[in-house]
Subunit: 358 residues, 2 copies
């Protein structure tokens, strides 16, 4: 099943759209908070709902290792397990296998790696990645990819791209044969009743290889996604700073995810309409103003910079939660502003305002 | 000013009452969550309001060291600093000086100690403790006490009690002369417009010394508290397990505080109507039921034991928050049940039910 996606307005290369999943609609361009192991770190699900997040991301590698996809399946899938009725996207596990797994070995079959948790040996193949994501009950499943290192040379990038394309075919074959096995198909009456598979464009930092990869990924999983550009949602994984997500949206990207707002929040870095703010800075010790005077989130409505600084300096657990709530509000508000600007037909003001904060 | 306290009903030795503070009424018997450094660990203030906590405790020792009582005063007091409009009680700092301070030395003047944070040297006297608590803007200020070690022998206990009584007199003198300096007297129109001072009964584990201490504390701060028993609220500090707080309430205790529900929550120990539950236990891995089937808190309404166990095992920051919210709900619900039973005139059912969980 392809991902139902409707483009509602355009402004230059930017598109305003809507992705229909079995767990609700997702307005695009969308920023997806990362819920690595079934929790957007520190944030209760009712607060994510208040923040009006319509989709969050789960990490296949982490959830496979702990609590395990079979356990999650037996409990009705990740939505039910974590009490989240809205959309979920899972990544393929490829990136984490390469960045977190130990002693990683790649072959045509897949990737063997040792768990960063307990050193046990595991094999991820395209089929295994699909099986895990389907067991988790993801709404949007990502094809299994080999993740090229940033510094890869051209020949290495080409080899990796070729492998990712062969793995995309295998992902699609397994996905098509098993997509009806998601735990929620038995219980949900929603439309669409199966998840959707998304391809991954590889090719290192070489623009022409990325282009070729995009074109050939399109050929490989044509039945699922038909053509990557124009009429299908485009998802750039793992980006970025607030000004970057505005720029990507302006270029025509529809979906993004990043740990930055959550991770930075836990480390005391706040994103605001006035730029980045390290809340532990002594100059905030007596600052009675909100973190961001232009922000209407529940943290800015209630707490002062002085209090947020105190919580962070005293290593109070509440610090991480409040900083994270504000940062997520700032990212989600930024995307709301982007969508509003596209509807009005002009992103230029938002672009120049956001670039000035870079 | 004495603490306005009205007893509304009695059941045996237990009393149902109401303490009027400048920041609202507190129904008693009351359990007070501990907000050590201006935050009930992990819990946002709006959740404390949802839990219907009417009073929380702040620790004078911690707040004095960080962020500092002068800073808190300059920002309008602890209520404003932490955005908490309801009642606040501060302890005297005595207990933490003895339990956390290094190289503690006691003299007639007071206690010198080194900060557990940075080793700097400080002196707490009865006057200093009052000054700090008034600067914080506490609604209920505790007299400065020497904290006798649990194993103290009789002569040591007597000496300590005598010192605490002399310090109580000094506390009261300073308090009476400066109580109008609380930061909120200038801004609040509420009644009463000053905080109240509470005496502390010492005397180690010897019942007769505790009795003498109680009687003599009464003499010392008579104008503030008149007589400890019967018509004034009685506060037992630092207790206890759920069955203990029910027993204390039955004996006629009106106020209690303890870090147990918050600290235990962060360590995965949940208090429930079925007894204590270590959520990391493997038997909860597939348990789809709520932490406590009889609890109506927002955690039990939404999340399963399996999910709470997963969060704890995966060391997710959300674990501490959800466990803490449930535990606080359980403690506050327990006190609500106690108050209801007193109103109905019979605590026996609640007492035997709670003891069976001990």
């Amino acid at each position: 099943m392809t991902l139902p996606f409707k483009i509602e307005a355009q402004a230059g290369t930017a598109r305003l759209g809507c992705i229909q999943t079995a767990h609700g609609a997702v307005e695009t361009p969308a920023f997806m908070p990362v819920g690595t192991v079934g929790s957007v770190k520190a944030v209760p699900q009712d607060v994510l709902e208040e923040l009006d997040a319509h989709i969050i991301l789960g990490n296949t590698y982490h959830l496979y290792l702990r609590p395990g996809h079979e356990l999650v399946r037996s409990l009705g899938g990740l939505h039910k397990f974590m009490s989240w009725d809205r959309a979920l996207l899972t990544d393929s596990g490829g990136f984490q296998v390469f960045s977190l797994g130990d002693l990683t070995k790649v072959s045509e079959e897949g990737v063997t790696f040792r768990s960063h948790l307990d050193g046990t040996s595991h094999l991820f193949t395209p089929e295994r990645s699909m099986e895990i994501q389907i067991a988790l009950g993801s709404d949007i499943v990502m094809a299994f990819d080999e993740c090229t290192e940033h510094s890869a040379e051209r020949e290495r990038s080409r080899t990796s791209m070729e492998m990712t394309l062969r793995w995309a075919r295998r992902s699609k074959e397994y996905f098509d044969a098993h997509k009806h096995e998601v735990p929620w198909t038995q219980i949900a009456g929603s439309t669409p009743a199966t998840p959707a598979l998304s391809g991954i464009v590889q090719g290192g930092m070489y623009a022409d290889l990325r282009r070729e990869s995009a074109e050939r990924t399109v050929e490989m999983i044509a039945a699922a996604l038909e053509v990557l550009p124009k009429d299908k949602p485009r998802y750039v994984m793992g980006v970025g700073y607030p000004h970057e997500i505005v720029q990507y949206a302006a270029m025509g990207v529809d979906m993004m995810d990043c740990v930055l707002p959550t991770r930075a929040g836990r480390h005391g870095l706040l994103f605001t309409s006035e730029g980045r703010m390290n809340i532990k800075n002594a100059r905030f010790a007596q600052d009675q103003g909100p973190a961001d005077p232009k922000c209407s989130c529940k943290v800015c409505a209630r707490y002062s910079r002085a209090y947020l600084r105190h919580l962070f300096v005293a290593a109070e657990p509440l610090a991480g939660l409040l900083n994270t709530i504000h940062n997520l509000a700032f990212y989600l508000d930024t995307m709301r502003a982007v969508r509003h600007a596209i509807r009005l037909g002009d992103l230029s003001g938002l672009l120049s305002a956001s670039v000035s904060l870079a």
